[in-house]
Symmetry: C2
Subunit: 581 residues, 2 copies
Amino acid sequence: MSARHLLTVVPAIGWLKAYRRDQLPSDLTAGFITAVLLIPQGMAYALLAGLPPEVGLYASILPPLVYALFGTSRTLSVGPVSVAALLVANALAASGAVQGEPSYLQDALLLAAMSGLILILMALLRLDVLVNFLGHSVLSGFTSGAAVLIILSQVMNLTGIPAPQGGSGVDMFWAAIQRIDEIHLVTLSLAAGSIILLLASRSPFIRLLEGIGVSTGSATLISRGGPLVIIALLTVLVATFGLGDAGVAIVGAIPSGFPSPTWDFLQAERAMALLPSAITISLIGYVESVSVAKVLAYRRREKIDNRQELIALGAANLVAGFSGSMPVAGGFSRSMVNFSAGAVTQLATIITAILVGVTTAFFTQWFFFLPKAALAAIIVVAVAPLLDWRSAVKAFRYDRADGAAMLATFLGVILFDIETGLIAGVAVAVGSFLWRSSRPHTAIVGRLPGTEHFRNIDRHEVQTWPQLLLIRIDRSLYFANVAHVEQVVAARVAQQRDISHLVIICSGVNEIDHSAIEALEQLAESLRDAGITLHLSDVKGPIMDRLARTDFMDCIAPGQIFISAEAAVEVLVRDGGSDQV
Amino acid sequence: MSARHLLTVVPAIGWLKAYRRDQLPSDLTAGFITAVLLIPQGMAYALLAGLPPEVGLYASILPPLVYALFGTSRTLSVGPVSVAALLVANALAASGAVQGEPSYLQDALLLAAMSGLILILMALLRLDVLVNFLGHSVLSGFTSGAAVLIILSQVMNLTGIPAPQGGSGVDMFWAAIQRIDEIHLVTLSLAAGSIILLLASRSPFIRLLEGIGVSTGSATLISRGGPLVIIALLTVLVATFGLGDAGVAIVGAIPSGFPSPTWDFLQAERAMALLPSAITISLIGYVESVSVAKVLAYRRREKIDNRQELIALGAANLVAGFSGSMPVAGGFSRSMVNFSAGAVTQLATIITAILVGVTTAFFTQWFFFLPKAALAAIIVVAVAPLLDWRSAVKAFRYDRADGAAMLATFLGVILFDIETGLIAGVAVAVGSFLWRSSRPHTAIVGRLPGTEHFRNIDRHEVQTWPQLLLIRIDRSLYFANVAHVEQVVAARVAQQRDISHLVIICSGVNEIDHSAIEALEQLAESLRDAGITLHLSDVKGPIMDRLARTDFMDCIAPGQIFISAEAAVEVLVRDGGSDQV
């Protein structure tokens, strides 16, 4: 294997070789700050997935290390993320797994390993382009729907209402409403207090620190510790006042140390049942990770390789499954923290992983009295900004089809389930794209007097000729829209009876497929029977190259392909005709 | 209802009001000639559908009259057609109906009535655009596959091999091969003789007549009677030599007169079972009819109204069901005969219907000894030209995706069934269209020295500027391809480190959807972080109108939208920079 090839497979070699000593302090700081954020977040997302908290910690150790080796982003923070956690919870609830039973954890590991395999398979089959069809509208609708589901799933942890998990968003909402009298006020108070403190630890706290003379940079760094300080505070509170015995759900005993590598979860029958969910987890996790990675890469003019990302995230998830942890992806807010705390390479990630590892090995007993309400508060504060109202309004204002795709996804996700929402959204988006491209914009044009410019006869005072019809088509011609063009031509030909030449102006035509070629040939023949000659003009180079390989020119003869509409007019209106303005 | 509105609903009023006496001889001749062709064809297609021969005759009487009233084509000959007959046979075989039982006929009527309703519903919901997605490649693959199936379905009638009907094309083929020793030589001889005579009655016979001084026109007209003369000849042969007793399958007793109107076939359970087939029959029948109608309409500068055609064909099929006949459509070869025999209005169709009606009322006993082999020969000769090899080769040569769609349809139809073939073909066609549009052609461009033209830097010796990157995109931007564009930009930005301005040239961009807008805004922001300003140029008018309704201009500020690439260069390369050629 050549050095260059090795570098492609293990991009870490690149930054390791070029590592400069002066980069170390930055990476150390960023690694520490991200770890402080990741420890409570990891436990919270495990809770969201219905898993024991330590599974979220495990997911923050080995998988990020694997990504650090194979990933092309230098600052992406891979680990447990809220959306993947939600997908795991939904998949397992739908497949009949029961939280707390050993098989529930097994299935979560299976999902991680399967999505790892799927991502690697996608890399091998070069299917990375597939995710492009998850357009911005669908992703935005999905993210908002997922945020609603995530918040609903935390109702029990936030309020103490023993609402059953699972079912659609609407089901969860009604289940909670029906038992609203069972609300646990102490739990609710802890949750509300945590949310208020978490929000306060951001800009208000930073402004406070700045007020007492701390620099903005330092103030921002200090505020990152907010979640850890708050959970410490609440843990002490619960332990001191014995709130656990008063009905507040606490994390309880977390085994210290690490699980042994395992492959017990590999069961063919479960794998078949979980396959659709594993595909969703892979696609969504990949799209989320790559979009975050790209935003960060631009800032330092680095480059993300879509295919290598499939491999890196695939490997990270494969390792996640076999090392007893939940599916992972690149998290948006955590990566931003890592980046803005100064991470320059994945060494920051390695430091984070070491710190989380040490905590997992030695300090898990500290989390015994940690109330689940505090973790739920962390989740709610993290996902609330994902409710993207502004984007929805913008989309609807610009284009109803985009808005419809977004709304279909959102409603599908909260009324039915995540897969239904995604499929509905993609169907609406692809459907409206196809629909629109099947009705291309066409214009009958004439010449602006005294110029060589041709414009729509309905919008401009232009020169036309009774024996000549000029139609401009503003779209690539393909099987689904060529019939529409034929219809426009036929309607016009039936109206304007003196026509002897028809010119299709192809300045807006980027491609012509074979069905369209055949249709144009047939059109030329039909028009010839009616005494009309079909010509083209402004045909782009690549299309000319392809037409030259066919007998198209013979089929439309004596019709020609003119270099421009002006050239067509010059040749076809020889005697000047009776110009009409 | 205004007179104009009435004319839209009943287009026949148009040609009836304007009817000129001198048109009558033409319509009379065409009506007679088409009837001579239609009588044997109608019986043959009923046979193909697995129905008694009279059902094909009934389908040639009332349904064409209904079409004559409501249709917008003046020369389309509506009635039984080979492809619809095949679809009926396949649908009924797949749904478990048994040929010869009364319920088989009932189901055929139900199919006719249902496809009538579906077509009318499509007209009301304005879904005529849907059929555009049955592109030329798919239809061509379908037609070739249908021709193979039709010929295979006639093996029993042509050879006397008692092969079971139904199953895929391959099943039918193997079933016939396995019982090849049961071939009936007399039947085979009659079939072969009929085929030879039918082929001879075309151009060889016309040339013969011309040779003895008959005019080309008259010779062509006389040759139209070929099928009728040949079946008369074979009927006499079979009757004289008692070949019916020697094992030659004959048509047998056909009830004279007409069936009473019926609605016994309206059974909800069967309707549900046959719904997918009814949809296929409607779509295919409609597409076939309209494409024939359009070809004919062009020749006389008449106009076909797609929606009115849905209503006319819908009404014809609805009446077909309730008057005891099989589904109908506009037939290609028969319409061509009608047209070239001089039909100028649907009066020709009315005359044809009257002649078929008289025959059905009084002369059906003449067909008692008609051998089924002769009818099968008529079918084979009619459908053999549908095997469209040349089109397949052309498609593959021009564009592999078109060829693949055609092949997928063809193989799907003969290896599985018609619906599978159509769905596979449309999936391949739509899929490759989406795939292609998700990877738009982009070019880094520079200026041809001394001109205002900008060309691909890989193909031309052009002027470029280190601080300026010009990218031309040759496709509408939408959710599925904007990621590809981002990738191209990111790769280039990572390479060319001095860039401070990036201009996306939109001369080939006909539309920008909201996802693409958001992506461009995000790109502008990411580039800004990297010290690069994003600009657009050559944005088309309609896109500018829509962008003006958004805050896009604010989002890309200080980036601008230039009227042309030249204008961008003028502004952005103020000090001349260090030009590179």
